[in-house]
């Protein structure tokens, strides 16, 4: 799956946008993930609105009330890691990045987006799907959506979690099929018997 040819001019366009100083989105990361994984991604990986933070839709800057603007300001000034932030334009993963890396380091990473995965805490799994957030970033799957992830990893995790249900269902199916099979055999033997009885009577 390759969208490389489609994305080159889009890349230029997006980086052109990023050059504007008052923009607060960071499309370099989106471009990196889309290029390296071949999966389509959008701003919803880190932001509340899938079209990004600019605009007047829900989860975008143009629609924030004063209380939310305050939270936004607090998050924007969290240059060092370790400060709990709750930015209204970021989702849980976005806030997690700011909290664990700090805005200063994050802005530095614009030049090397691949390194974001190395700096995130390795055992954080926000959507509890068994795949660490850093890995979901590298795979291009949504870190806050339990149903999105590398199918093989999801399979392994869900298999282990639901092991008892699987074993019991297997036992129930085997027992049921075996039982019905023998019932059928019993009916067939019994009906042959009845025929013999009838034959005997007719004799």
């Amino acid at each position: 799956m390759s969208f490389r040819t489609a994305s080159l001019p889009a890349l230029i366009l997006l980086i052109g946008f990023a050059a504007l100083p008052d923009l607060s989105a960071y499309p370099e990361f989106q471009v990196y993930v889309a290029e390296s994984t071949g999966r389509t991604v959008n701003c919803a990986m880190c932001h509340s609105n899938s079209d990004g933070p600019e605009g007047t839709g829900p989860g975008q800057i143009g629609r924030l009330n004063p209380a939310e603007l305050e939270r936004l300001g607090h998050a924007r000034s969290a240059f060092q890691p370790g400060q709990e932030v709750d930015s209204p334009i970021l989702n849980a993963f976005g806030n997690h990045i700011v909290t664990s890396i700090g805005k200063e380091k994050f802005v530095e990473l614009k030049a090397a987006p691949a390194h974001l995965a190395e700096l995130l805490p390795p055992d954080s799994d926000l959507d509890h799907d068994g795949i660490p957030d850093a890995r979901e970033y590298l795979d291009g799957t949504h870190p806050v959506n339990r149903n999105d992830g590398n199918p093989i990893l999801l399979f392994k995790h869900n298999f282990r979690t639901n092991f008892s249900s699987i074993i019991l269902t297997l036992a129930a199916t085997i027992s049921g099929v075996w039982g019905i099979g023998h019932l059928l055999q019993g009916f067939s033997t019994a009906s042959r018997l009845k025929d013999n009885d009838h034959d005997e009577e007719n004799l």
């Binding site: 389509t40 919803a44 992830g149 869900n158 249900s165 699987i166 099979g181």
Partner: protein, 366 residues
């Protein structure tokens, strides 16, 4: 021919196709036998398709309790089922996976029945009703796909319906408008919207299932009356009784199918197979995300559509449909060996185009 001769011939024809004198306990249960030979594994395929269909009916009814067919609530209701209703995620995933498995079973059933010459006299009605069932099944897949109302659902439906409108370029004069009108009748309005969703919901939940039950009834009646076809050239030497031996094996196949479906639905969410932006709620004013494509069982026609001129696909599909419907008469005198080769070639095309279609497309276009 005189009228009474025509009537007599019709009578004989129908009587041969529907031997209702065989609707007795002794013929249908006690004496029914199934041939045992190299290809007798294929006798299970029809039952498997029926099994997956019943799974769809049950899971579909369960989903019906919570699904809301309005443009503003459809996506949210599906999300509600998956995230909040206890057991809802399993029901939803089983419905999605079983639809793919059902179509897979139906395709294998088609190819194997063709290869076994199961359409030979007197089983022509079985074959023709089967082809109708194939069409209804694909229609169920197409209509059902729209219901979650996410990006890939609406956009793939738009693109699919667009292909109807494109017939217009080949029609002269005023007739060029007719395909567009047909498309708008199917859609219910000028663009895919609430009217389309309501229509597709009605089709998917009631109209198509009712018609499938009707046609399936005919299909199953015909199968029960005629029994299993012999399947190979020449006469099969070994037989096994339908009750209980073959039926027990049939049930075990259904048991295995259930386990596979259950484990897959429990462990692999359907949505994880595609990029997440494709599952976001449809936004009519926003742009379309990359990677929109129809369901995998349409790939065999979708990628050729993208690569070849439209009229080639149009003529090809028309021919294919006609050949499928007319198989019992077109291939009346073909040997099973030839039919097997044809079926294998068709299978190779389907598998290659489905699995490698995208790569092939990029080889030629990008």
């Amino acid at each position: 021919m005189k009228l009474h001769e025509i009537v007599k011939n019709t009578e004989t024809y129908v009587a041969e196709r529907f031997p209702v004198e065989k609707m007795s306990y002794s013929a249908m249960v006690e004496k029914k036998e199934v041939p045992v030979h190299r290809v007798s594994w294929a006798y299970y395929m029809g039952g498997l398709a029926l099994y997956f269909f019943s799974v769809q009916v049950v899971t579909g009814l369960l989903l019906l309790f919570y699904y809301q067919p309005t443009v503003s609530d459809a996506h949210a209701s599906v999300e509600f089922i998956t995230e909040h209703v206890p057991g809802g995620a399993l029901v939803r995933n089983m419905h999605a996976w079983a639809s793919s498995l059902m179509i897979g079973a139906v395709m294998i059933h088609l190819l194997t029945s063709f290869a076994m010459k199961a359409f030979a006299k007197p089983r022509e009605i079985t074959w023709v009703t089967g082809v109708m069932l194939l069409g209804i099944t694909f229609a169920l897949g197409f209509t059902g796909y729209l219901l979650p109302w996410h990006q890939v659902a609406v956009n793939a439906t738009k693109i699919g319906l667009q292909s109807i409108e494109e017939v217009g370029q080949y029609l002269p004069g005023a007739m060029a408008e007719w395909p567009r009108i047909v498309k708008e009748i199917i859609q219910g309005e000028a663009a895919v919207g609430q009217a389309t969703l309501s229509r597709f919901f009605a089709l998917h939940v009631i109209i198509l299932p009712l018609s499938i039950i009707g046609v399936l009834g005919m299909h199953l009646l015909s199968v029960q009356l005629h029994g299993m076809s012999k399947g190979i050239d020449g006469t099969p030497t070994r037989h096994e009784k339908f009750f209980p031996t073959f039926f027990m094996k049939d049930l075990s196949v259904w048991g295995v199918a259930f386990i596979i479906l259950f484990v897959i639905s429990l462990t692999i969410p359907f949505e994880s197979l595609y990029s997440y932006p494709l599952f976001e709620p449809f936004n009519s004013k926003g742009s379309t995300p990359d990677g929109i494509k129809p369901e995998w069982y349409f790939y065999f026609i979708y990628y050729p559509l993208e690569l070849l001129p439209y009229w080639v696909i149009l003529v090809g599909s028309g021919l294919l449909g006609a050949i499928l419907m007319g198989t019992p008469w077109i291939f009346k005198n073909t040997s099973r060996k030839t039919l097997q080769i044809l079926a294998i070639l068709a299978a190779i095309y389907l598998v290659v185009m489905t699995v490698f279609g995208e790569q092939i497309y990029h080889m030629f276009k990008a």
